[in-house]
């Protein structure tokens, strides 16, 4: 049984489906968590402290990394297989078939954009939070100021006060939207939980889930950018720093 996940086309697709499903669930959790930063920065920092270098959070992070690596590695293997199966000679004329989603033909490209965004995101946040704690430090210097490792609200406010970060993150989210649009209903199809009655429902659910995820993330990004322009961002952030700091200790 173990080997059909590696050597059969449907087994490999099952791995894509299951890892994809776990990652979508994680995104929903992450999005909900981020919204707290907009509503209550102190509360957000409490979550940041909970998800710091605690053993369960580290285990979950390693698990998540494994999911991303598996999903991406299998995507590469499947894409290489598909490229070979298509043959060296291509059609001179191609047409768009009705009912075919653009995203479904570009999942790897979209996935690569998502991974690049993820790397940037890890540099912006993870490396200044969990990694700092794992290294045994209290915090890092960000733009000349000391930021505590559990002070997520300050990091969010700082990161999204820069317009280029806002643009990069929104591009990242757009790619993610297209990726999820195909991915969410597709994971049901791959495990066989789909039929002609359920396709419209699954595709609708797919759009709802991907839009919710992206709107949730974008609300925080745009929200903090607007606050930084209005000049109220700094105050919110200072309050949050203290609140988060006190709570964490």
């Amino acid at each position: 049984m173990s080997c059909f996940l590696c050597n059969s086309s449907l087994g490999k697709k099952l791995v894509m489906s299951v890892t994809g499903c776990c990652l979508v669930l994680f995104l929903l959790f992450h999005m909900a968590m981020n919204l707290v930063a907009l509503i209550n920065p102190a509360g957000y920092n409490t979550i940041c402290a909970l998800l710091g270098a605690n053993w369960y959070a580290v285990v979950a992070t390693v698990g998540l990394a494994a999911l991303v690596v598996l999903h991406f590695m299998y995507a590469l293997i499947l894409t290489v297989n598909n490229y070979r199966a298509r043959g060296s000679q291509r059609y001179a004329v191609t047409a768009n078939e009705p009912g075919v989603e653009w995203a479904s033909k570009n999942m790897l490209v979209l996935g690569v954009i998502v991974i690049l965004g993820l790397l940037l995101h890890l540099v912006h946040f993870w490396s200044k939070m969990m990694l700092v704690e794992l290294m045994g430090a209290e915090g890092t210097m960000v733009a000349g100021e000391f930021v505590h490792a559990t002070d997520g609200a300050t990091l969010v406010a700082f990161t999204f006060s820069k317009w280029y970060n806002v643009v990069l993150y929104l591009v990242w989210l757009t790619a993610l939207w297209f990726h999820l649009n195909h991915g969410v209903w597709s994971m049901f199809q791959t495990v066989g939980w789909a039929n002609d009655v359920w396709y419209p429902r699954l595709k609708c659910a797919s759009k709802v889930v991907s839009t919710l995820v992206i709107l949730g993330f974008a609300a925080v990004i745009v929200g903090f950018f607007v606050m930084s322009i209005c000049g109220c961002g700094v105050e919110v952030c200072t309050d949050a720093c203290c609140a988060g700091h006190n709570h964490a200790h």
Partner: protein, 247 residues
């Protein structure tokens, strides 16, 4: 009607092919696409040239022998018909029509527009049959089968094995074909008993022959001349995974 035809010409499997342009004139709008090619070939033979090789047999849309990738569509721009059932009225007078063979690593070109679709036969031989005694028609009719199941089985059984699915798929995947075979037998009591073995054997053969992986794109069902739904692919996935988990 007059047409300019851009046709893929290739001497044999090993030669390098190329497009050649031909003109056909005074074609009736009610000429079928293959009849139009017959007219072209007639002209070519009279001019002492090699006629264009293309696959065809029944010419009534049930044998699955005709193929052709026409203006970017498997079996041409018409919906739900094979190339033989498409008529020249589907095209604009004076237009250029590009005709290519199926392009898929598992379907090598034999000559011109003819490809070797033996890979589909091999997949069928791996398990696309019933090996238990099912007796004669009266015995079959004695088993009550819900109308819904019979209809679904029949929808899948409509597959003529023409290869349009793999030829259209951006991954060169034969999933729609395999799914149609597995699904049509899985929905009937005579086929049900060997369902697990069939799904595993046919998928294994499909993978072995170098067909690609399904990305749930759905181009296959859009181009399928028998309009077979990817819902059958979902059933194949179900059958295969259930069989593997029981191993």
């Amino acid at each position: 009607m007059n047409f300019k035809l851009k046709i893929w010409r290739q001497k044999d499997a090993k030669s390098q092919g190329a497009f050649e342009t031909y003109e056909v004139k005074n074609i009736s709008a009610d000429t079928s696409f293959l009849e139009m090619l017959d007219i072209l070939n007639n002209d070519l033979v009279h001019a002492g040239k090699e006629p264009v090789a293309f696959d065809h047999d029944c010419r009534e849309g049930i044998c699955g022998m005709c193929s052709l990738h026409i203006n970017g569509h498997a079996h041409g721009p018409a919906q739900a018909v094979t190339t033989c059932q498409m008529y020249m009225r589907k095209f604009k007078d004076g237009s250029t029509i590009t005709i290519e063979p199926w392009r898929s690593a598992a379907f090598p070109v034999i000559k011109d527009l003819v490809v070797n679709r033996g890979a589909y036969d091999e997949i069928l031989q791996a398990g696309g049959f019933v090996s238990v005694r099912t007796n004669s028609v009266p015995d079959g009719n004695a088993i009550p089968i819900p109308k819904k199941d019979a209809d679904e089985s029949m929808d899948a059984a409509a597959c003529v094995g023409c290869g349009a699915c793999a030829a259209t798929c951006k991954n060169g995947s034969a999933m729609l074909f395999v799914a149609a075979r597995v699904s049509s037998l899985a929905k009937l009591p005579q086929g049900r008993v060997e369902g697990a073995r069939r799904a595993k054997a046919m998928v294994a053969k499909m993978d072995e022959l170098g067909f690609g992986n399904c990305t749930n794109t759905g181009a296959c069902q859009a181009e399928c001349p028998k309009q077979i739904s990817i819902a059958h692919i979902a059933r194949l996935n179900r059958e295969f995974l259930a069989a593997k988990l029981q191993d």
